[in-house]
Amino acid sequence: MNKPKILIVDDDPDLRKGLNLRLRANHYDTAYASDGFSAIAMAQKEKPDLIILDIGLPAGDGFVVLNRLQQSASLSVIPVVVLTARDPEVNRDRTLKAGAIAFLQKPADNNELLEVVRNALQQPWPGAPASAN
């Protein structure tokens, strides 16, 4: 069986690297993007099973990315987990409204993050082929 692929979108190279190591150690395939523009391009090219998305990004922040994903029929089915250093009080509801399925604040607990990822991947998503399990 193919490993699920996760697209990591973060402008900080160290954080991308750390998250990449963590996810690969847990048997996920990964791909990167470091700004809003390439996040959309990579999502189209790689067709990831899940996206982990930062909010503060150059060339289109996380909200722009969420909007663009929602507008595309093929991309709107990809679950997005927002992982950001920003204040949940101000951003949590906003990201969920914009279509994210979960909001985690950095630094996130590894177990919590993996749990959210696992749940998101197992979920039959509206419109997604029913083969997720």
């Binding site: 900080d12 160290d14 954080l15 750390g18 998250l19 190591l21 963590r22 150690a25 503060g56 679950p79 250093a85 920003r86 204040d87 009080e89 101000v90 509801d93 969920l96 409204k97 399925i101 979960a102 909001f103 604040q105 950095k106 630094p107 996130a108 590894n110 959210v116 749940n119 998101a120 979920q123 039959p124 998503w125 509206p126």
Partner: protein
């Protein structure tokens, strides 16, 4: 007088007094625009338009008397200076008005035009000063809030990086570790967690100051939250060989609290207790009821630590306070934990205090209001000291759709609550989430002061609002039902309190199917539905 003080609003019902004031005003200056009205309502209407430079206000008007009069004016136009025109006999009231925000007062018939002009000039100047003070205070708080929010974001990014790589190393993902290496990394990891807490506290404390902490009260079981908090902190207690135990009677009634905030209060207190207790000591969490104070549950966290000196005890809940004696062998925090804890308890309507004996330990105790249907429903089902003529109960069941993630479900529950609150008719109507239940479903009860057709219309309104809320509709489905609450006959026996109690009991009976699904069993609810205290509940856990 400056040129912007050109428009005076006189609110005075006695035509003679009004004429005299007008005369005195015009004597001093010819370019004044004077607007006289003889009712408070007309005065309030006049304040809708361009604000006057000064209001001259008689306190006893046909449609309002005494303190009520100036309070209404002040709340309508908080930035407009008010000078009270008082009679000889109510000078005391006028003086009280000055304490509560009125700028000055003059006794009618005892002032000339110069005195009047001076009173008005000073009133305007003082008001301007106050307004600018208030503005700069608000600006400062806002600046601080924004600054801290920004700083905490910037601090979190490098902290995240440290967190990530330390955990990678600790989990052996970069190769095997020696015992020493592991020990050192664990030390770093502890500091990372400490930093994370401190950053969160910084933001939380600013929020407490600006009144932005949100507390969502609902009916919950306190024993469960205590157990969760104790389980969460067991590891850190074990590390120090400190015994951590909870003594809670499961028969303690339901409380009206925010489960996440209660968790936060408890973990702050337990965490502190562990921190200031030497190895082999113990920490005990208890909950009990007090005969003398039957509307509250008492919760305490007791330790066998070093204790707190009387001087420190007086200041311990203040912002940024740190016990100077606590520095020696434990690391300092920011001194915000107990301040936040106190604010959270206060927002629940409870109290918190500490008792301590130096060298023997400390006991932090706080109170939380018990969930009491009669108390919550009192103003819904009564009006001017009598039961209302009609009361309805609506049950709204909300269930998540299969595709809804747990974060989205939390979000959906909040949005539903908002939607329901905006669908009720009066602000006395109560929307009540049913005690946390295990099932992935939420039930809200609405108790509304309305009759059968009103309830029917409300039910329709909720369904329509839900239908329009495409975002919510994508996450969950709802089922609404309504029923009239049977009320005692007009002129029925018993005090109002007893009648309210009776109605509350009926409501809980009607809602029982919804309540019975939750862990708050019917018995727990019955106990809770009374304002009456059950002393037998206290026996087991006060020893």
């Amino acid at each position: 007088m400056t040129n912007h003080q050109s428009h005076v609003l006189v609110i005075e019902d006695n035509p003679g007094d009004a004429d005299l004031v007008r005369l005195r005003l015009v004597e001093g200056r010819s370019d004044l625009e004077v607007n006289c009205v003889d009712r408070l309502s007309a005065g309030l209407d006049a304040l809708e338009g361009a604000p006057p430079s000064v209001v001259l206000l008689d306190l006893n008007l046909p449609d309002s008397r005494g303190a009520e009069t100036f309070r209404k004016i002040l709340s309508k136009a908080p930035g407009v200076p008010v000078v009270v025109l008082s009679g000889q006999d109510d000078e005391e009231l006028a003086a009280k008005a000055v304490h509560q925000g009125v700028q000055d007062y003059l006794v009618k018939g005892a002032f000339d035009s110069k005195q009047l002009a001076r009173a008005m000039r000073y009133a305007v100047e003082r008001q301007a000063l106050l307004t600018s003070l208030d503005m700069s205070r608000k600006q400062q708080l806002r600046f601080k809030d924004e600054f801290l929010s920004h700083v905490s974001h910037e601090l979190r990014t490098p902290l995240t990086c440290i967190h990530q790589f330390v955990t990678l190393l600790l989990d052996g993902l970069a190769g095997r570790l020696t015992a020493d290496q592991r020990g050192h990394l664990e030390t770093i990891f502890r500091s990372v967690k400490q930093l994370r807490t401190m950053i969160a506290e910084l933001l939380e404390a600013t929020r407490a100051e600006t009144g932005k902490i949100s507390v969502e009260l609902r009916c919950i079981r306190v024993d469960e939250v205590i157990r969760q908090a104790v389980t969460m902190l067991h590891a850190s207690a074990d590390e120090k060989r400190i015994g951590l135990e909870a003594g809670v009677d499961i028969r303690i009634p339901l409380v009206n609290a925010d489960p996440d905030r209660l968790q936060q209060i408890l973990s702050n207190l337990i965490h502190n207790a562990i921190k200031f207790t030497a190895p082999d000591g113990s920490v005990m969490v208890k909950a009990w009821l007090m005969d003398a104070d039957p509307s509250f549950v008492y919760i305490s966290v007791a330790d066998t630590g070093r204790g707190i000196s009387p001087e420190a005890r007086a200041l311990i809940f203040e912002r940024l306070y740190q016990d100077p004696n606590a520095v020696d062998n434990s690391r300092k925090g920011l001194g915000l934990g107990l301040y936040i804890t106190k604010e959270l308890v206060r927002l629940h309507g409870g109290r918190i205090w500490v008792e301590s004996q130096v060298g023997h330990g400390s006991v932090f105790t706080f109170t939380l209001p018990l969930f009491s249907l009669p108390r919550i429903l009192f103003s819904t089902i009564t009006d001017q000291g009598r039961l209302r003529r009609a009361v309805s109960l609506l049950t709204v069941e909300v269930a998540p759709l299969p595709a809804c993630s747990s974060d989205q479900w939390q979000d959906a529950r909040r949005q539903c609550l908002q939607l329901l609150k905006s669908s009720v008719y009066h602000h006395e109507d109560v929307v009540l989430p049913v005690p946390e239940n295990a099932s992935q479903q939420e039930t809200f009860l609405i108790v509304a002061a309305t009759d059968e057709p009103g309830a029917q219309a409300m039910e329709k309104r909720i369904a329509e609002q839900f239908e329009r809320h495409t975002e919510l509709r994508a996450k969950c489905e709802i089922k609404v039902a309504h029923t009239a609450v049977p009320l005692p006959e007009d002129g029925a026996e018993g005090s109002l309190e007893a009648q309210v109690q009776q109605v509350a009991n009926r409501i809980s009976e009607l809602a029982m199917p919804a309540f019975a699904r939750g862990p708050g069993s019917p018995t727990a609810l019955e106990e809770n539905s009374g304002l009456v205290h059950q002393p037998e509940n206290t026996k087991e856990h006060t020893q």
